[in-house]
Amino acid sequence: MDRPERMSDSNTGSPRGTPAQTDTVETGLVYAHGLAAILMLFASLVFGITVSIEMVWPNALDGSPWHSWGRLRYDHTQGIMLGWLANGFFAFLYHSVPILTGRRVTSVRLGQWLFGLWNCVVVIPGWVLVLAGFSQPLEWAEFPLVIDAFVVLALLMAAVQFLPPFFSRGLEDLYVSSWYVIGGLVFTLLAYPMGNFVPELVPGARGAAFSGLWIHDAVGLFVTPLALAIIYFVIPAATRRPIYSHFLSMLGFWLLFFLYPLNGTHHYVFSVIPMEAQKGAIAASALLGVDVIIVVANLLLSLRGTGWFARDVPLRFVSTATVFYLIVSIQGSLQAQMSINRAVHFSDWVIGHSHLAMLGFATFAAAGGITHAWQRIPRARYNPRALEWAYWLLLGGVVVMVADLTMAGIVEARLWQSSAPWLDSVLAARPYWLVRTLSAIPITAGFIALLLGLTTGKRGAGMDAVRETVGAQPIQEIAPRLAVPELS
């Protein structure tokens, strides 16, 4: 297990079960979740842009509760996590799980219920309830408790839908993406109730300790594993070469699941929470950076030969996500350290960091996963030129936004360290906030291009694009390439 796996063509026979067939993928559900993801992305985007405008022009809207800053801000992050990313992940899971396991997901009917529950009972009512004034003021947990109950139910349904194919296949053959899918679904199911329910029952500083855990688990146990599952899936599937090292994949996976949950308290450094817990979380944050270097090295080595910018757009999305993942994680490791944290905590630096994570890393991975799956839906429309635009517009927008917010954070931090009046830091940040709002232009355009890329163009053009960029690649060939060779 400790040698880099270089699977030759003679070694790609799936150890058991039949090779995945196109018809085991529930393309209808891929399609539905993919489109829902992008539509909900637009709603979340509107929430985000509105709050950013309100920071530059506070009188831009009247004081109606339905577009008051705080409520829109709640809907923005909940929409990104549960509306956009979760739907995107589900779309990808419907595509990848049958290929990874050679088996169908549990039930199409269950899938339809899950789709309806997730979108029509969780996300949309969650948004409306928040705007109507029913919410909880906990980060990444703003939807009210009644919605949380349905989220847990939906996560259970997702586990029933996606996990049995892995277990019936036999665990020893699992490819690393499968591990991340299992890990992501199981641990989100554990972490979600902790983050959403416990702080309502445990007061003040004690509850904050659990909030800190969840703030990090939402990213670390839900978003990151599923985004990495996509990246680990798309790279070998699109390059037609196995991942560089299965050993490094597994090392990265286990270190991630050991270290990520232990990071939580770094959101409350210098607080009243016991210093030992803070320091432990800070040490875990530094180690996590090491883990990410292992994961990213393995992924980038797997990309050797594709050039700086892969011609296949989904592959380019996920390889860019990989680079974002490296940057955001190293940044996270650094800003958890006390000397940096004391200055930049509470500032726009952190907002830049979270956008680098969610809009850079996770969104690029999800966009790559959805477009990759789309290419392989025979009847789906696919517009390669629009997706080309989407990639560059989003890349430009994210870079401008994150660089801008990071600089704003440094300016704020310096003023807070000085004796300058508080308001000086607000005034100094305003030009940066304006640039942040303007960065929404390329980002919005990029998402529109993404939507056009998946809804316009010729039907079945996705597979043509694949043939042009990496050569013909029938879908059933993909599965063996992802599979782990016999471990005997």
Partner: protein
Amino acid sequence: MKRFVRMSYLVAAVAGVGFFALSVFVLGVWPGRVLEEETRRMSPEHPLPLTASEQRGRSIYGREGCAYCHTQQIRFLKSDVERFGAPVLAWETRFDYPHLWGTRRIGPDLSREGSIHSADWHYSHLYSPRSVVPDSVMPSYPLFFQGGPDRPTQEARDLLAYLESLGRARELAGPEGEARMRTVSHRMEEMDLTSPVLNANPARSRRQGEYPRLSLGNDPARGEILYRRHCAGCHGQRGEGDGPGAYGLLPRPANLAEHEYSQDRLSFVLWNGVSGTAMPAWRDLPVQDLASLAGFVRQFYAPRSEPELPGQILELGAKVYAGHCAQCHGDEGAGDGSAVRELRMVPASFAGARPSFAVSLRAIRSGVEGTPMAPWTGKLSEAELSAAAYFVRGFYRQ
């Protein structure tokens, strides 16, 4: 071999769940126990929980996302302590379901907000933040009012009640509470953060205190910028006390064009604020800036010739003043009469600020709304009113 592999994955799966359980224990349950113990030992025996109104206000605060711009967590850091006051301890948050610590600080931290601003300031600020803080980016909340800052709804009252409760528990603990906390917690000593003041907010007004004597700066341009940024919201562009923020404030902001201020008085007010009114202190501005500001404020008053009155009227004024005014305003008109301690705000100091005759007469006739100054019409004759109004102008000391 196969069996071994299968076993190893089983072990790994159990370990995976174990990792999560470990994180919940070492970063959630265990710190919780420590904090619970700390709360038990540091909390006053009968800490005051929130009232029903404050609790409702807290829900509104949570619902509107206030915690996403205003932290309630002063960290154990010099920069936080110097700006806001003593770090927040676990027991202070013991009634917070859920906590409202926040992770972003766009506006200032509110852990010790309770005693900073007056109610009329809060209402005006909630109704229209830029009316009292021209450069604020806070959203306005007219939905808590029925058309004006002076017409708060129940929600506004609840929210205000909550804001006024922030930091209260710690203040009520008093010096003996602080001493007790120090014996229990080594953290403050550890970090060399023995904060000298519980509430370090520079806007907090106080009735007395050291203040730098400002040499009226000669940088009117700087003074004007500062005035527009910090003062014009309430005192108005021309200093007439008619800025957009004035509408909701009681007492009304001072009319700077109708008062001649002494250097000493301006120094005191800018440094210490006017306790009991919406006028905050400006201790966070550099002293040079305050001097420029004071210089700019002084130019609003155009010296004018007031009518000379015959000596016997002055005598009448002195008699009226001694009989009715001196208990509050003091024998020398310095706002330091014997009754001052009983009043919720310090009476006007005529020694520091000379009102124009018209303003003085209006105040004595109709009283000053929002202050303990009562109208004297009907209790005193017209002659007595005029005489007293004129007489107090003589206390002024340049």
